[in-house]
Symmetry: C2
Subunit: 236 residues, 2 copies
């Protein structure tokens, strides 16, 4: 899949990967603030200037944003059978995307851990999500033959889908991979497709019964929940 490329392009890919890996590794070790671009460049054995030929910032190197992945997602979505409702089609694509992701669990969990521990990476991360979302919107608009500038629908489905995926990823990390990512994604989509009814309350069949929780508490009793800090940095 990468073997019909010349040495030049292979080196390029290698350099990029090397820089990304070095960035993640160093930041995991020392923390973002104690890693300079010079450090990363040195670890990848290239000049600082070359680093900036690949990435326009430290953050970008860590977040990654694979350009070919975008096109692939779009293709996958358009390839789904036309009789699938949009939300189902997106779900299937994302579930399929989750499989290979789960194979490299270790890498991804480390990656996500770094992002969690470094709030200042959040802006970049979310921006990359936004890029995927735009991609999704266009693909959905094409699929449903609606105008994304006039109609809420494609933007809504895309936003809800990304939200579902993001939430699933976050919980996957919280459980440290002990629950299947695909399962979490499916669960999230199922709840969205059901209109996000109140939990624990009434069965979906009868109307929105406001008859309420009664606080049965299905939650597993496992204590834990170390006070998850909720600092979010806005800015650089």
């Amino acid at each position: 899949m990468e073997h019909n490329l010349g040495r030049r392009d292979r080196k390029k890919i290698a350099s990029r990967r090397s820089l990304q890996a070095a960035a993640v590794r160093l930041v995991a070790d020392r923390g973002l603030k104690h890693v300079t671009v010079e450090d990363i460049a040195e670890a990848a054995d290239v000049s600082v200037r070359t680093f900036f030929n690949y990435f326009s910032s430290k953050e970008e190197a860590i977040v990654g944003l694979d350009p070919e992945q975008a096109a692939e997602l779009r293709q996958s979505l358009l390839a789904r059978p036309a009789d699938e409702p949009p939300l189902v089609a997106v779900r299937n694509v994302l579930v399929a995307l989750a499989a290979p992701l789960a194979e490299r669990q270790e890498d991804w969990l480390l990656h996500m851990q770094v992002v969690r521990q470094e709030p200042s990476l959040l802006p970049s991360l979310l921006a990359s999500f936004a890029a995927h979302e735009r991609n999704l919107i266009e693909a959905l608009a094409e699929r449903t033959k609606t105008d994304p500038d006039r109609d809420l629908y494609p933007a809504l489905v895309a936003a809800a889908s990304m939200a579902a995926f993001r939430v699933a990823m976050t919980h996957w990390r919280n459980w440290e991979g002990k629950r299947s990512l695909a399962h979490l994604v499916e669960s999230a989509f199922a709840q969205c497709a059901a209109g996000l009814p109140a939990p624990l309350s009434a069965k979906p069949s009868s109307g929105r019964a406001p008859a309420f929780p009664a606080r049965g508490g299905i939650r597993p009793g496992v204590a834990a929940a170390p006070g998850s800090g909720s600092h979010i940095g806005v800015g650089r």
Copy 2:
């Protein structure tokens, strides 16, 4: 509401507002790249160093992230009657929040226009959304008595709500305020609550006539090209 503060605090607020206003105004004029922190500080008549006492970056000054607004949102949500389903409660809070926002349409549309024209602001903007989302998650978890670290539900509702609001805002801007923001928000939430069914199939009772003001002379340059290169600045 601000009069029981000493002169000192009033000056602080004034400085902050002044800096924000100057930032937005200057960027709207010259473009982000041609505005330095020094320019902003000068326009607000404070030193550069003082600017950094208020904001940690240019971006933060523009995006804004009002700290008191967060607490207010949380309060509003907890104040909703307990028999409202979570999604409805959030919708009502956000619709209420949209009203005062629509009053200052001009300011907000300018603000949003600046953000749209400057993709490198997107990361910061999304991060501020994320901050609100975390806020929402905690409030929802409290309301539904679920553990946000173990249960998908509060995170899902929060994410979907923010998505609905964000999409509504975007479309509001696309229509330049010609459609009521509150209506758009309600419409978005209604579609979410219905589970985002495929469009065109079942028409809502009150048919939103898709007969649109055919793009006549409205806004020439805004809508970026169809092939809108999904370039999104990730990073600084």
